[in-house]
Amino acid sequence: MSLHNSSHSVGLVTPQVALFDEPLALACGRSLASYELVYETYGELNDDRSNAVLICHALSGHHHAAGYHSEQDKRPGWWNECIGPGKAIDTNRFYVVSLNNLGGCHGSTGPSTINPQTGKPWGPLFPPLRVRDWVNSQARLADLLGIECWAAIVGGSLGGMQAMRWALEYPQRVKHCLVIASAQKLSAQNIAFNEIARQAIVSDSKFAEGYYLDNNEIPDKGLALARMVGHITYLSDDAMASKFGRDLRSGTLEVGTDDSVEFQVESYLRYQGSRFSDSFDANTYILMTRALDYFDLAREYNHDPVAAFREATCSFLVVSFSSDWRFSPQRSQELVDALIAADRPVSYAEIESNDGHDAFLLPIPRYLEVISAYMTRVEEKR
């Protein structure tokens, strides 16, 4: 039996595409006449349609969260450690839905897909999106799948923001909200890092003000640089020290030599950057980082997160990671404090980890135990 069909994996999965041709009004004031969302599902929807779990992806994520696309596939979906039979999000018990968000670049309608009005890629003309637009489009996907109420909505980082927005916008459609390594809004420092990433992209001459696809080019240097900056902020100082230290990949620093020297960390970052620029769209990166920057949970609640959470009727699990400085435990504690003050049921765990923000994607035993424990109650109280 191949590894891809093992009892601990959802096995081979095939993405599906849903077409929506009712116009979607967007937060920016424009609307999308029609759009497609690509998604995957794992597990079976039960008879009373009460066991559905929505996975909201983060900045560079997509619909392929678990399993494999083919026997030759080397890597499983991005959250394969957490989703599967007998895993923390148990596909024997739950029907898991994972989509590529609108504006993405993995199959859903976005800047790199064709604008039906022009016959050319949308490029920079694709409307800017906010988290609430994703939530509204996800709600339509739920309608299509016959899911009136999610047993749980789960998201890390930017995904956590979507989960929270769901809880406020569609309180009657969410029973449990799992908010992992997220925040009610980005700090100035966080926005600053995103702006460096965007500037790296737009300064690449091949970016051509976003019309690069018309020239059959991609701003790969800029996108790689954007990813390198981002990547550093997703790791911790300690994680980088233990992964690379000051190890050299080539050359020597001995006195009397004039070799060209390359640190391991330099080579690693360059590799990450170039791999990313091969698979991700620059306009999508700009769109997604902007959505992150614009998100402010309590903006229309007089900037009071307590008032915002009073709109919610679901229970919450909030999780943070000790070495995450991009979405630090303090940001999660602010959410917990507001939820307590709003008298919402909330559990909170700060997971000890050296891996910075990236920890939310890693199979840290205590992390998966907490998710698993919480999901047990989701099943009982769904």
Partner: protein, 198 residues
């Protein structure tokens, strides 16, 4: 369940909002939720306890009592319970202030260090008492702020904290009767129901 916990139960109003400080694995909160339909929340720092409490379907927040409770609004809970943790916190006096600020009523339980066996142990052997009830050595005990019944009541008086009721538990039924009459000498566990001064 520990005897101090079954004593507390009757003080909990059905349907009230209860905060349990150092809630352990959530056994007591679950009991209150099942028997008294409370809306409960527990604070805990032990990782396994937190997971166990979450698995029970409780609201468990990872929070260190020694870092304070300033994130809880005034009078936001009907009852704040702290069972057998007073002696383990860094600032018992500040915790008491915080409890009566957050809770309309509070319950505190602690082992009474004035119990005659402690006194006998210290008096005859000249060493810190170790028993099955308090099994740690002086150097590795989590219990860093032992007090007696009298100590506690004096602290409450100094702070203007109102003692609404108290309950004293001995190690047997007979000694519990003695404990009611001479708590500082015969109470193993002291249970206080307290509130801010009106």
């Amino acid at each position: 369940m520990r005897p101090d916990l079954s004593h507390i139960e009757r003080w909990i109003t059905p349907g009230s909002r209860v905060l349990d400080l150092a809630c352990g694995n959530g056994e007591f909160l679950q009991f209150l939720q099942d028997e008294r339909q409370v809306r409960g929340m527990g604070l805990e720092i032990d990782q396994n306890n937190i997971t166990a409490g979450i698995a029970r379907g409780l609201s468990i927040v990872e929070q260190d009592l020694d870092q304070g409770l300033s994130n809880f609004p005034n009078q936001s809970f009907d009852m704040v319970v702290m069972a057998h943790a007073l002696q383990a916190v860094h600032f018992p006096d500040r915790i008491l202030d915080e409890m009566v600020r957050i809770g309309r009523e509070c319950v505190v339980t602690f082992p009474n260090f004035g119990h005659w066996r402690c006194r006998l142990h210290l008096g005859t052997r000249g060493r810190m008492p170790v028993s099955s009830f308090m099994p740690h050595g002086w150097y590795n005990t989590p219990n860093i702020h032992f007090c007696t019944v009298r100590d506690f009541e004096i602290l409450c008086r100094e702070k203007g904290i109102r003692i609404v009721a108290r309950d004293m538990v001995g190690d047997s039924q007979r000694s519990s009767l003695m404990a009611t009459s001479w708590p500082n000498l015969f109470a193993m566990t002291a249970i206080y129901r307290i509130a801010a001064k009106q």
